[in-house]
Symmetry: C2
Subunit: 350 residues, 2 copies
């Protein structure tokens, strides 16, 4: 059964007591109590220098690493936070995640990743992790699930929402103002001379999608323009949905002169569809996106879009979470970061 090619590290160590070295071993070796060893590790200032040295030497000699699980149990804290993401593969979310991670690491926290794959059930599942004490807090980059359930958890544990928010909730949130962002985008389109403007939204069961749509309507209303209902279509943020919806406009024979897409991915899909019909962007139809993905500047035409400060959203969210965890008072529970219109080449001035 055994084969030279088998890889089994535990065999290599043989049955020689690989015994995990514990704090007692160190204590014994250094001739002190476990209490002292623990103190050396966590409050060195309370231990005499000579003792500290002895202990450190023993730790070194035994290559001792404290068992964090035991510490966590004792201290009832994990120094871990949970981040729930709808799709880690989406560069926008991974950038937010990176912002979170950056400050987490700086503050000595680790991050447990929960990718829901856009599945509400899995999203719910992650709620338990807090109650099971596997994390000290959580930041949600998605909030499609039952709002009450989230509220419930947030009542007993530190929770912050990033990007999305829950209507009527007091759970701390950091995001941009999607309404004003979308309004700004649409107004730019109007100011560029467009009147017949289409909107491809995100999934409307998400607040943030509704907000962007709301911003669109607001801008149109302010400018006294009429929105043709067929030109408002619900996508799912994906390239494909942008492509398909634009094709639908073609099929319907209903062409706007400009389209506001609620994500850069969709905007690119829209543009591909337009090109596939032999038309040009922005000459024939203008397109404006949302997110400012790295790729949007590389794309041709380079996308005019609303930039979200993804990394900063992550940073702020984590900082907020830290305050919650440390039971500091948090004054503003809604942090709104500035978005920005990035003008590139996909919108034409008429």
């Amino acid at each position: 059964m055994k084969d030279v090619n088998d890889y089994n590290p535990s065999i290599e160590t043989g049955k020689e007591k690989t015994m995990m070295v514990g704090i007692v071993d160190v204590a014994k070796k250094a001739n002190v109590s476990t209490a002292t060893v623990s103190r050396v590790l966590t409050k060195p200032e309370t231990v005499r220098e000579t003792t500290t040295e002895k202990v450190l030497k023993a730790i070194e000699a035994l290559n001792y690493q404290p068992n964090l699980i035991a510490r966590q149990l004792r201290r009832l804290e994990t120094k871990t936070i949970l981040v729930v993401v709808p799709d880690i593969t989406n560069p926008f979310f991974s950038k937010v995640l990176r912002g979170i991670e950056a400050v987490a690491v700086a503050k000595g926290y680790q991050v447990l990743l929960g990718d829901t794959g856009n599945d509400v059930e899995r999203e719910k599942g992650y709620l338990n992790i807090l109650q099971q004490k596997k994390a000290d807090g959580m930041v949600l980059l998605t909030a499609r699930m039952d709002a009450a359930a989230v509220e419930e958890v947030a009542r007993s544990f530190p929770v912050v929402l990033a990007c999305e928010y829950i209507e009527g909730s007091r759970i701390p949130t950091v995001s941009i103002d999607n309404i004003s962002g979308a309004r700004k985008a649409t107004e730019y389109l109007v100011d560029s001379g467009h009147e017949r403007i289409g909107c491809i939204t995100g999934p409307l069961d998400i607040v943030l999608s509704r907000d962007r749509l709301k911003g669109f309507y607001q801008a149109m209303a302010r400018k006294n323009l009429i929105v043709d209902p067929v030109l408002v279509q619900e996508g799912d943020f994906s390239f494909d949905s942008g492509f398909n919806l634009m094709m639908k406009f073609f099929a319907l024979g209903q062409l706007p002169t400009a389209i506001f897409a609620a994500s850069d991915d969709m905007a690119m899909g829209v543009i591909k569809a337009i090109k596939s019909k032999g038309l040009k962007v922005p000459e024939d139809i203008s397109v404006l996106g949302f997110d400012n993905l790295k790729f949007s500047s590389i794309f041709e035409p380079a996308l005019t879009t609303i930039a979200q400060p993804a990394f900063e959203i992550g940073e702020n969210a984590m900082e907020l979470l830290m305050k919650l965890i440390n039971k500091e008072e948090v004054k503003r529970e809604q942090i709104i970061l500035a978005d920005q219109l990035v003008v590139r080449e996909s919108v034409r001035t008429i």
Copy 2:
């Protein structure tokens, strides 16, 4: 000091003993021992049905959630694995991560994320997490650090490498064959009639970059073509490095008819540079990439590239890790997945 706008959930619960309910509370309520409660939760088949019901009812009533930390301490396992990534923002890695996550979740594991931001020091830091027992195993998507250190850890803990490997190491690995992939790519270029071919490599301190370069040389040698040394330049996988290196070729007045870039990002940079000089791809210069990012098919011209099965790499890595954790024998310690040449529009047949 207090303000109506303060958000402080612990205030809402007041000082009413929000007391964490523990297994003893359940036991008391159900009139059984803690042992029985534990058994209901973990080996229900050993408990009489009527008892089980009582216990379940108590659990329900108290909304009891077992403290996983305590369980972990007792069982000496965390049901958590650590994934160390050089940059989560890179869609290739996030896709691998997703593969890992998918099988992790399926097997009841959680994933702790370690993003190193391409920093070797941070990479090293994550090694400790295993020894500190915060994770049962780890998969490394990067292995720039001291090989000996990794080996050392891998001797006592389950570790698998994904994408990269360590030369001469027996640590289980899953990846594609970068040498043959690059060779295949280069040969395609040659077979398309190109002879003067440039290569833009990844950072050469990474094995995988060296392998791709090696594949390039092998193909050129097999086809009896001469490699002009100035046409081989070291990039860092980024769009910018591709752009800059191509500009360097222009500055040098040394133009190849085709370029093999070791990443799609770089390939796109190269193409942008070519376009910026008023030349066309593939008409004037052909470009071939590596990775097959989602974006590569959207890019114009659509990139001809080598596709890596990122998600599958992740899946396989995690499955391998599971075997290691469960101390099953692993026969093959190197799993090579198939890469694939995806022909699109960026290479011209002469």
